[in-house]
């Protein structure tokens, strides 16, 4: 679905990170956690391509004036890294944005009851919040949030408000444990008796580590990937990632935008 969205708010939530709330058409309410949108920033050729962002949250917006009808809306949590996100960060309420989405395949919610362990690195937390909102209704949920410094640890209060137990680790020790978030994850897994299910989003090395941990403990794990995208709909083959059987001789590429961005970790090739 392609639609024109109105910015409701756009605030810096941590240095370099913004959270933007946008209106959406009614059908958008059916978006699943882990799906994403592609946003056209500016109306011209610079930036040229749309920019992909996860769906941080879905909600309803009721305008303040009398008799106003409430309207679905969604949120994005984004980090300013380049031209497109810099421009995005300058938008204000009432500005318009051209949005394509929801796109891709989101998270599978797994087995109700089984403990859910969410692992997010930096802005990788973005799609995990909507996921947590869905998961807390059926299972205990724990979040492992990692980042370089405390500035990269986002929206933890929101997760806690859902009843999610949060573990924080930063590489410089400025918040939570000092070190990698995967260490906290491993401790938790060692404590756990029954099975747990993993959901991860963040930098590729983190996902690789999480996938290895899941494989070691033989528990289900879904990862949400990034990939340079042009079309977002599976047409250009720009965004592919190697599947588990991938070799130079027997290539096995998966489309991140269509088959993903969420994949069962064991279906992917983690070698490169």
């Amino acid at each position: 679905m392609q639609f024109t969205s109105m910015v409701l708010s756009n605030a810096e939530v941590s240095p370099g990170y913004h959270r933007m709330r946008l209106t959406a058409p009614p059908e958008f309410a059916a978006a699943r956690a882990g799906q994403f949108v592609m946003v056209r920033v500016g109306g011209g050729i610079d930036p040229l391509l749309r920019r992909p962002f996860g769906i941080f949250d879905l909600s309803t917006h009721t305008p303040l004036h009398d008799g106003a009808v409430s309207q679905p809306c969604f949120e994005m949590l984004y980090r300013v890294v380049g031209k497109g996100t810099a421009l995005l960060s300058t938008l204000h309420a009432t500005d318009r944005l051209d949005v394509l989405g929801p796109l891709g395949t989101g998270f599978d919610l797994g087995t109700p009851g089984a403990e859910k362990l969410l692992v997010g690195g930096g802005v990788g937390l973005a799609p995990l919040y909507l996921l947590a909102r869905h998961l807390v209704q059926q299972s205990p949920v724990r979040l492992f949030a990692g980042g370089r410094t405390r500035d990269d640890i986002l929206c933890i209060t929101e997760f806690e408000r859902l009843g999610v137990e949060c573990y924080v680790a930063t590489e410089d020790g400025s918040l939570g444990e000092c070190g990698l978030v995967t260490e906290a994850l491993v401790s938790r897994l060692e404590q756990l008796e029954g099975g747990a299910e993993l959901f991860a989003c963040g930098p590729h090395p983190m996902l690789k580590a999480v996938a290895a941990i899941a494989a070691y403990h033989a528990i289900p794990c879904q990862v949400s990937l990034e990939g340079y995208m042009a079309c977002g709909v599976g047409a250009c083959l720009g965004c592919v990632t190697p599947g588990h059987g991938h070799t130079a001789e027997t290539p096995d590429y998966r489309c991140v935008c269509k088959e993903g961005p969420v994949f069962p970790a064991h279906e992917l090739g983690w070698e490169e």
Partner: protein, 304 residues
């Protein structure tokens, strides 16, 4: 009165002159939620080869000023899977599907042309000659008139369907290439394919694309594409399909004035999935507003 938007292109009857470009529109189905396929003239599917092709490692795309580079590496499902998995969809759409294809020897091209000739759902063929000739030290077919002529002649013998040859812009003299392809039996020429380019990431001191170089497309290349269409249209008799950076009805009409009978929309579909449909509608509106009865009246109507 509604203007007449139909085009007869090398035997293909199109409801309007706007097609989508190969590699930017999948096999048609990927965009079906966003474009009313029956509002565009035709669509061209992703470059096909005999065997499935893996394509290049990633990153495969990068944005550049006013354009993008791609190095997909011609990943495709191969003819067998194409027939099994993609052709059924083509049959359901009441819009001509043109199949873009390539090979690494003239024989492979011809074999594929022959296979495609047998598929009734395939309305026409577009030969991508911007590929290396493995038999001749990797020289790109589309940069040598003799090589190109050989490929086109081989395909011509293998099919009776409309045969479109897609020209590479990475040549000194596009007119010579166009002439060679027309002489070898092309029913129409489409131009341009991407310009070879490169992007570098200063931080990592590496090329951005895993393949190092890639093909430049998008608005940035429009002036080069327009120039080539104009040059070829003055020298060669076969109908032309203009491609390169078309994002609006105005762009498309400029190509028509320069001598193109139809156009293809590529990169623009990434930005606006319905771009091709909107461009066709915009062209019709423009013709109506300007009292032009038939879009074909504008073909090559540039006043120089």
């Amino acid at each position: 009165m509604k203007p007449d938007m139909t085009v007869n292109l090398a035997g293909l009857e199109l409801r309007n002159p706007v097609m989508t470009a190969s590699g930017t529109f999948g096999y048609g189905r990927e965009f079906a939620d966003y474009v009313d396929l029956e509002k565009i003239g035709a669509f061209v599917t992703k470059g096909l080869s005999l065997k499935p092709r893996p394509g290049n490692p990633t990153p495969r795309i990068v944005e550049t000023p006013g354009g993008m580079l791609n190095a997909i590496g011609l990943q495709n499902v191969g003819i067998e899977a194409f027939i099994a998995e993609k052709v059924p969809f083509l049959a359901r759409v009441n819009t001509p599907a043109i199949v873009n294809f390539f090979g690494s020897t003239p024989e492979e091209y011809a074999e594929l042309a022959g296979r495609l000739d047998e598929i009734p759902q395939v309305a026409g063929l577009e030969v991508n000659i911007s590929c290396p000739n493995v038999k001749q030290g990797g020289i790109v077919f589309g940069t040598d008139p003799a090589c190109a002529g050989q490929v086109v002649a081989a395909c011509r013998r293998a099919t009776k369907k409309p045969l479109i040859v897609k020209l590479s812009p990475n040549v000194t003299d596009v007119v010579v290439m166009a002439q060679a392809c027309a002489d070898a039996g092309a029913d129409a020429l489409s131009l341009i394919n991407t310009l070879t380019g490169m992007a570098i990431d200063l931080k990592s001191r590496k090329p951005v694309l895993a393949n190092i170089t890639g093909g430049l497309s998008g608005p940035a290349i429009k002036p080069v594409a327009l120039r080539m269409v104009w040059q070829v249209s003055r020298a060669v008799q076969v109908p032309l399909i203009g491609i390169g950076g078309i994002t609006s009805a105005t762009d498309a009409l400029e190509f028509i004035l320069a001598g193109a009978s139809a156009v293809q929309v590529g990169t623009a579909s990434f930005i606006t999935p319905s771009a091709s449909q909107e461009i066709a509608q915009g062209m019709e509106r423009w013709l109506e507003e300007h009292g032009v009865a038939r879009v074909s009246d504008l073909v090559g109507a540039l006043e120089c």
